[in-house]
């Protein structure tokens, strides 16, 4: 089966499936070749809860960029203990971080969008690629409506950069549904969410947002809204009407 056909099949077969059903299907369909990439965000904690309570054979990993909030590390610890899980962490390569910091400084991400992308590349994308070796599919907590770059998210997508299927079991959930689930099931979550942080990444590149601001307004807030992705999800090209979108559809 070709790659886009795999995605078409998934979309056709899982159109109305619940997130739990999507996860169970992924564990069967990609047995031994699927993993869940958790950023420890609210959506990801929902998926961790579903995977753990159903006892699904889906390994969970997270990317420890070395610049996370203390609260995020504590959440990682609490989550692993709460569900008696091993959440595998991937850490950036010392030589690459040292070379980058030596050349461009420890806070290079404030200097230009290129420098910011380089930092995301070294601290997130390269460790992610290492985590993805040997996978046929990866699972994410993306959902529609997570800000400008994530207006429309499908349950299954072809991830061109990773060269594999990406499964988003919560694609159709909205924020209220995520929080209802967290409260109903007493899922551990990052206390920063209660302090105005809807989307939490590296500490120096995240801030709280005001009421009514875009969901990802607190990520790389000094950049243009359509740039507020680390590159891990390749969403810029998916903003309807964007220059990148026009190129993609040309």
């Amino acid at each position: 089966m070709t790659q886009p056909e795999t995605v078409q099949t998934l979309l056709a077969e899982l159109g109305d499936a619940t997130p739990e059903e999507v996860l169970a299907d992924a564990a069967r369909r990609f047995a031994g070749r699927v993993a869940f990439a958790s950023s420890l965000g609210a959506e990801d904690q929902v998926l961790t809860h579903m995977i753990a309570t159903a006892g699904l054979d889906i390994p969970i990993f997270t990317l420890d960029t070395g610049r996370l909030y203390p609260e995020t590390y504590d959440l990682l610890d609490r989550t692993a203990k709460n569900y008696d899980l091993c959440i595998k962490t991937y850490f950036p390569a010392a030589a690459e971080v040292e070379k980058m910091v030596d050349k461009d400084g420890v806070n290079l991400f404030r200097d230009s969008i290129e420098a910011r992308h380089r930092c995301c590349e070294v601290r997130k994308i390269l460790p992610l690629r290492r985590a993805q070796l040997e996978l046929g599919a990866w699972i994410c907590g993306l959902r529609s409506g997570q800000g400008l770059t994530r207006q429309k998210v499908e349950i299954a997508e072809w991830d061109q950069l990773a060269d594999m299927v990406k499964i988003n079991p919560l694609a159709s959930w909205d924020e209220a549904r995520v929080w209802d689930f967290i409260r109903a099931n007493d899922v551990p979550y990052n206390p920063l969410h209660d302090q105005g942080f809807p989307s939490i990444g590296c500490a120096p590149c995240t801030r709280a947002v005001a009421d009514g601001e875009d969901w990802r307004a607190g990520r790389w807030w000094w950049e243009l809204p359509e740039h507020r992705e680390c590159g891990l999800h390749d969403r810029a090209a998916r903003i309807p009407g964007s220059a990148a979108d026009a190129t993609a559809n040309a």
Partner: protein, 210 residues
Amino acid sequence: MTVDEPVADILARLQGLSAEEILADAVARYPGRVALASSLSPEDQALTHMIAAGGLGIPIFTLDTGRLHPEAHELIDRTNKRYGFRMRVYCPDAAEVEQMVADNGIDLFRDSEFLRQLCCETRKTRPLRRAQIGLDAWICGLRGGRGATSESVEPAEWDSEAGLLKLNPLAGWDEVRVWDYVRAHDVPYSPLYDQGFTTVDCAPCLRAGA
């Protein structure tokens, strides 16, 4: 090459010298083979200021354990900009951190003293050893009267674990003198000190003092 001068002779020679003079002596005696290991404490920041202001050209490095307070990185950045240099940053080995965390959890240091030391070893000591390759002497901001483990500090001591001479130019200083110096020279320091912290290190292993 290592330092063959007996520590007692070095101590005799350094007696009565100011911190700046000890630094100048170090760079003259061990050119290209001495560096300041900065933890970004006010003591280390004072030494950084002396090195920069004196144009001593002593390299400065710090250890980014991966669990530093976000404020620590801001301070590295501010310090680099203030003095127009870039301190070297040494990071732990990815495979070692990943293995340690997979085996023992991300906050293993809370579970036992052994695991706390394993964490320090992986995130601090090994990167420090890498930073020390090629050195004859390393400089620290240790001073006397800083708690049970560093009660008495001499300006020079033999570091048998590193196999290097260790120089503590602020050995004779007390806390008041450090802060007087920091304020008088407008030396950048971590805002955490203004929030009650008396030492700044990995975030999860610290809390504000009374």
